[in-house]
């Protein structure tokens, strides 16, 4: 029984993320007992939730065999607009709605650029990445905007029932919604179909335009949500929020077991990989290793996980070279 379960875990696409996350947690708790303190675990959960939310949206985009490089900029712009509006005295609810609307709007723009103009998603979102960053800088003039709204901060870091940070609840809700969309709706199946074989999807009568736009709006929404949560957590917002977050998000998705070949998405793996990344950052901090090593460990895990995966598949199919 246990053997069978463990075999199934090992064979799953998300095996690398699950095993690495578990290993990192165990290793750090053994090395230093401070790793398992409440404060530290809460920090990990909040950080993991934030990167998981963007990662969940990105998983769908990658399942559609596209990429969204603009998520980092969308995160930043949503946070900056929220901070700006809060400074103007706009009520918190409206601010959050505005921030999320910005994300959806930018996602819509991405989707339209890709479908109406026929640009590759990589290039279209590379262009919007740059443009949105420019808008961020024009709004902030390169300065930092402070948020003086305690409620906003509490919305992210308060512990529900003294146990679970709100951020985790938000991430869980996003996971549930995205999982339902991806696995239980025609839209989700269409996303996977387009990623698997676009011609076949066209032939099957799938409205590629609508599905593409919808997916990019969804990832825009997720990115904006992450951005708002980052802003709420940090209380100080500038244009460096979300810098390089697009590449981190792609890495999280890939470590989670979703292949860039499209057609499949592993939402659970993405969440595990986000937890792994957050645990590495917090853990290295606890055991007093400089944060300069974070990327070394995470990048190393990324490469090793993929190499193991490649060799595993390579032993099955010797013909193919670079998958």
């Amino acid at each position: 029984m246990i053997l069978r379960t463990s075999k199934r875990v090992l064979a799953a696409d998300s095996a690398a993320a699950v095993i690495a996350a578990a290993g990192v947690f165990v290793a750090f708790s053994l090395i230093n007992s401070h790793f398992l303190t409440r404060l530290n675990i809460d920090g990990i959960i909040v950080a993991a939730s934030i990167s998981a939310i963007t990662g969940l949206g990105m998983t769908l985009v990658i399942a559609m065999r596209a990429l969204d490089l603009s998520v980092g900029s969308i995160m930043g712009l949503a946070a900056i607009i929220a901070a700006h509006l809060l400074g103007e005295g706009v009520p918190l609810g409206l601010v959050i709605i505005a921030g999320l609307a910005v994300g959806c709007g930018l996602g819509l723009i991405n989707g339209l650029l890709i479908t109406m103009l026929g640009l590759p998603s990589f290039v279209a979102t590379l262009a919007t990445l740059s443009m949105i960053l420019g808008v961020e800088l024009l709004i902030t003039r390169g300065q930092t905007i402070s948020i003086h709204n305690i409620g906003f901060n509490k919305l992210v870091v308060t512990n529900i029932g003294g146990f679970l940070p709100v951020a985790a609840a938000v991430a869980a809700a996003v996971f549930a919604v995205v999982w339902l969309i991806f696995h239980r709706t025609p839209f989700g199946r269409h996303v996977a179909a387009i990623g698997g074989d676009e011609r076949a999807a066209v032939g099957a009568g799938i409205n590629i335009m609508a599905v593409t736009i919808g997916t990019f709006v969804l990832v825009g929404f997720c990115a904006a949500l992450s951005g708002l949560m980052t802003g709420a957590q940090l209380q100080n917002v500038d244009s460096t929020i979300g810098a390089n977050a697009e590449l981190t998000a792609i890495a999280v998705v890939v470590v989670g077991g979703t292949s860039l070949t499209g057609g499949r998405g592993n939402l659970f793996g993405t969440v595990c990989a986000a937890g792994l990344l957050a645990a590495i950052e917090a853990g290295l901090n606890v055991v007093n290793v400089s944060s300069l090593y974070d990327d070394l460990v995470f990048g190393g895990i990324l490469i090793i996980a993929l190499m193991v995966d490649g060799l595993r598949r390579g032993s099955r199919r010797r013909g193919t070279l670079v998958t």
């Binding site: 990429l67 420019g134 808008v135 593409t212 990327d295 070394l296 998958t323």
Partner: protein, 377 residues
């Protein structure tokens, strides 16, 4: 060009059937495109360059002073060198996202090992470090069987972290006069040394693509990986060689940038990976692989430098540069699609108008063809 060189009998004997006016038109378009070296893909970068140069002539004549041209050429050079390697890689269907980190790590290794040494040793060390990192990329891709996009995404993190660790997160001061001169000096106050190096790099890449077997293998690999493999091309070797070449070029660019900045910093080249890809794409190289243009890449690198410089001369807030960059990427691609054989807002021809399917995991561009909506199927 292929058509005429093949000496299609129909053309030579002038025995073209009446109904083949379409063929004639196609041949005519082809000759215009091929002979005049003004193909559709590169149209965007030409038009944008011309438009900008005209606008600058009227609005900011100081652009055309020798000193300013020198600045623009210098800005072109470093990005151009990285983009040259990226062009060849993209033609083979691969990406190198780790160039950002290599550009920081290579000069950091050089400076920390031979900071007081001769300029030549610094230069060599930087290039050798680039080669070594390229070897790592190549091994991960070819032996580890990891798709280039994600493999170099991983090494982006790893190399960047190593650069941080070696430099302890600080910028290392570069004092070597030779390196400083390479980064900032110029011939006759007009042509920077770095630009000459860029010309040499583009020359070498041209020879590689057009005069060596490797070049043919690159294009074959990029257009269809499996067919190339079946056709007897050692695909692994091609990828390995290209990553090493890209690493070496990035090492050169890194030490030039350090010379220009007078410091070696792990984060001295932020976003050079995505910017270099943007340059390659604006230049008219398709992300689908198999075809590409070095001239276009060089023109696009120059275009990006002109935009940055021109906005400053026009007195525009420098933050607009980011917005302008994005607009240029989109415009260049659109301009390449409208008109002659263009496919913008195409009549829905079903799938035939779409992109060829992608054969490997190199990631994104497949969504290119997402526009072929199914109304007509």
């Amino acid at each position: 060009m292929a058509l005429t060189e093949d000496g299609t009998p129909a053309m030579k004997d002038d025995a073209v059937p009446v109904e083949s006016n379409r063929v004639r038109l196609a041949v005519l378009k082809h000759t215009i495109g091929g002979r005049m070296r003004f193909p559709r893909e590169r149209r965007g970068v030409w038009i944008l360059n011309a438009a900008l140069l005209v606008v600058l002539a009227f609005e900011a004549p100081t652009f055309y002073t020798a000193g300013n041209i020198e600045t623009v050429l210098g800005d072109t050079a470093i990005l151009g060198i990285v983009a040259a390697g990226m062009t060849v890689l993209i033609m083979a269907g691969a990406f190198d996202l780790s160039v950002t980190s290599i550009m920081g790590l290579a000069p950091i290794v050089a400076v920390s090992v031979a900071g007081d040494g001769s300029g030549l040793s610094l230069l060599l060390l930087s290039v050798l470090t680039g080669v070594g990192l390229g070897v790592v990329n190549g091994l991960v891709v070819t032996r580890g069987r990891v798709a280039p996009f994600v493999a170099t995404l991983g090494t982006l993190f790893v190399f960047g972290s190593i650069a941080d660790i070696i430099s302890k997160g600080n910028a290392l001061v570069v004092t070597n006069p030779t390196v400083l001169r390479l980064g900032t000096g110029s011939i006759g106050q007009l042509v920077p040394y770095s630009f000459l190096i860029m010309i040499a790099v583009f020359g070498m890449c041209h020879v590689l693509l057009r005069r060596l077997h490797l070049g043919r293998w690159v294009r074959a690999t990029g257009s269809n990986l499996r067919a190339a493999h079946v056709g007897g091309i050692d695909v692994r070797w091609v990828y390995f060689a290209l990553f090493v070449i890209s690493g070496a070029l990035t090492g050169v660019a890194g030490i030039l940038l350090s010379g220009y900045l007078a410091s070696a910093d792990a984060t001295q080249a932020p976003n050079y990976n995505l910017n270099a890809i943007a340059v390659v794409v604006v230049g008219g190289t398709s992300l689908r692989g198999g075809e590409g243009t070095l001239v276009g890449t060089a023109l696009a690198a120059w275009l990006f430098a002109v935009v940055g410089n021109g906005l400053v001369l026009l007195g525009v807030n420098s933050y607009w540069q980011y917005v302008a960059t994005g607009i240029i990427v989109i415009l260049a691609l659109i301009l390449g699609k409208v008109g002659f054989g263009g496919e913008i807002w195409p009549r829905r021809r079903g799938i035939s108008g779409g992109a060829p399917p992608q054969s490997l995991d190199v990631a994104p561009p497949a969504a290119a063809a997402v526009d072929s909506a199914p109304s007509d199927v």
